[in-house]
């Protein structure tokens, strides 16, 4: 899998190159600012790009802007945005063009390497990866209707919102796939959402609902 990395902190960039390179990914470019990132994407057409949120010049949300732009020009490419802290607005901005091939994770998730690799692969193959922290924040903000869900259903909803599929959810919660399916139907019923099997539509639906 061919990867472009955009991260302005030199040591961190080097670390990501080392880590992903060691896993057999082909890191075709590692750059430090949005312009070089867009140029590298245009030149290499990678399968997936890993982008830091804070980049020069203002170190606020240049990474998000660049990621959104890259997604527009290369719709097939996956974009995984890494951030030092979670900001729900960033997730919303990223998902605005539709929840496909996009991820938004806290930087330290890299440390849970297996999950990180899963997320990266999911994003590269058209899926979604949203950080549990973002989901937790959304849950805190939108109480009301969620109170109707059972604790188990809330767990399922949270994992769904992260972008995970039924198999993985079943694995994580150590229940059968059939049970997951039942919970999801129940959640959609309680939240008045149309049930669908497509992961991305589930995520959009969930996030859109949570945002109000």
């Amino acid at each position: 899998m061919r990867i472009v990395i955009a991260e302005d902190d030199a040591l961190l960039r080097e670390g990501l190159v080392m880590l992903l390179g060691g896993e057999g990914f082909e890191v075709v470019a590692a750059v430090s600012n949005p312009q070089e990132f867009l140029a590298a994407v245009a030149r290499h057409s990678p399968d997936v790009a890993v982008v830091d949120v804070r980049m020069p010049p203002t170190h606020t949300d240049e990474g998000i802007k660049a990621a959104v732009e890259a997604r527009r020009s290369h719709p097939g490419m996956g974009v995984l945005v890494l951030s030092a802290y979670v900001e729900q607005a960033f997730a919303t901005e990223l998902l605005a063009d539709g929840a496909r091939s996009v991820g938004y994770l806290l930087k330290e998730r890299v440390g849970q390497f297996k999950e990180f690799l899963d997320a990266l692969k999911r994003v590269a193959s058209g899926g979604v990866a949203i950080d549990p922290e973002v989901i937790a924040q959304l849950f805190i903000r939108r109480r009301g209707p969620l109170d109707r869900l059972t604790p188990r259903e809330r767990e399922v909803l949270a994992l769904m919102a992260e972008g995970l599929g039924n198999v993985v959810i079943a694995e994580r919660l150590q229940i059968t796939e059939g049970a997951v399916h039942k919970h999801i139907s129940s959640i959609f019923g309680k939240l008045d959402l149309a049930p669908t099997d497509r992961v991305s539509r589930r995520v959009t639906a969930v996030l859109r609902y949570l945002e109000g």
Partner: protein, 401 residues
Amino acid sequence: MTRDAFEALDRLAGGLGTALLAFATLTGWVVVGAACLIGIGLPMVQPMLSVTRSVAERERVRLGRWGEHVVSPYPAARPAKGWRTDPATLRDLIWLAVHGSFGLLLGLLGIALPVMGLRDASFPLWWHLLPDGETGSSLGIPVHTWPGVMAVSLSGFVWLAISMMCSRPIARLQSLPGRRLLTPHPSVDLSERVARLTATRAGALAAHAAELRRIERALHDGAQNRLLAVVVMATAAKRALERDPATIGPALDRVQIAAEQALAELRGVVRSILPPILENKGLAGALSALATGSPIPCDLSVGQLGHLPLSVEATAYFTVAEALTNAAKHSGATRLRAEVARHGEVLQIEVEDDGVGGAWERDGSGLAGIRRRVEAHDGSLTLTSPRGGPTRMKLELPCAS
């Protein structure tokens, strides 16, 4: 003594400048007054009041530059009012009359004395160049003979001596009306002080917010990123260990580098919030460490300070640190002198160098930040730095504990 006299002359020259402005404004008032008598001057009164106020403000700034902090009676936001209702405007006008007349005469006298002195003292050198019959002393007494010329020269030295002795008292006398009349009237002092406190409190909050932003930025861009690098590198090392233990070396090296950098960043941030040395050694010890570390040799004298609030100590520490840094960067000085003393409820700090002077305060400079900090404590910071030097910074901080 000589230096004092030169300083006083510099001061008199500045005073003469504002006195000339005051005189011009006074003349303007006479014209407007006359125009009012025939009924056409009234529209000019308001502009003249504004001019008067700006001349008075210039004098306040001038006095402030010489270390005589004159608090403006006008809060920045208040629009100009007519003099009938505002006692401060009336006091400005009285000052204008005094400074534009007596102040002008004093300024001329103060400057004329040394000029006459120099002219007469050097008279023997050039009197023969003058046409016959036109030679004479500064006072116009005709002189045609060598003994007379020598007497003129002698009188020149007398003028210079008088100038040396009197320029300081004259300068003080000249600035007296300003010091008395341009400050708020005693009766309004309290309400003005409340207004000032409100303003400085807002300044303190702004300084606080700016400080928080700075700390957040320092933590995020520094320590947090370094620690994230530690996590990433440690993960890489772990994976290397699983695959091929021989390749783990470089990854572990980088883990160590990143962790050390994180520590250094954290230390820097902690030091910028509250220098640990203040807690360990107190203000005197911390200042002496600063003086020892200064690239320009610094003579430090610290009096009995007693117990001081920690916030006052921190402000004093950062002020001296800033002064030393600025001196090292810009002054070209070879020697620094810092005096720290407590007079009752006021902590006084003076830092002086023997450099080239010309220091000024930019917006957003370290000094501007220090000033906000000082004003938040209701203290005052004065920087005098005439071109040619020396630069002197004086800090007064209330320190009731």
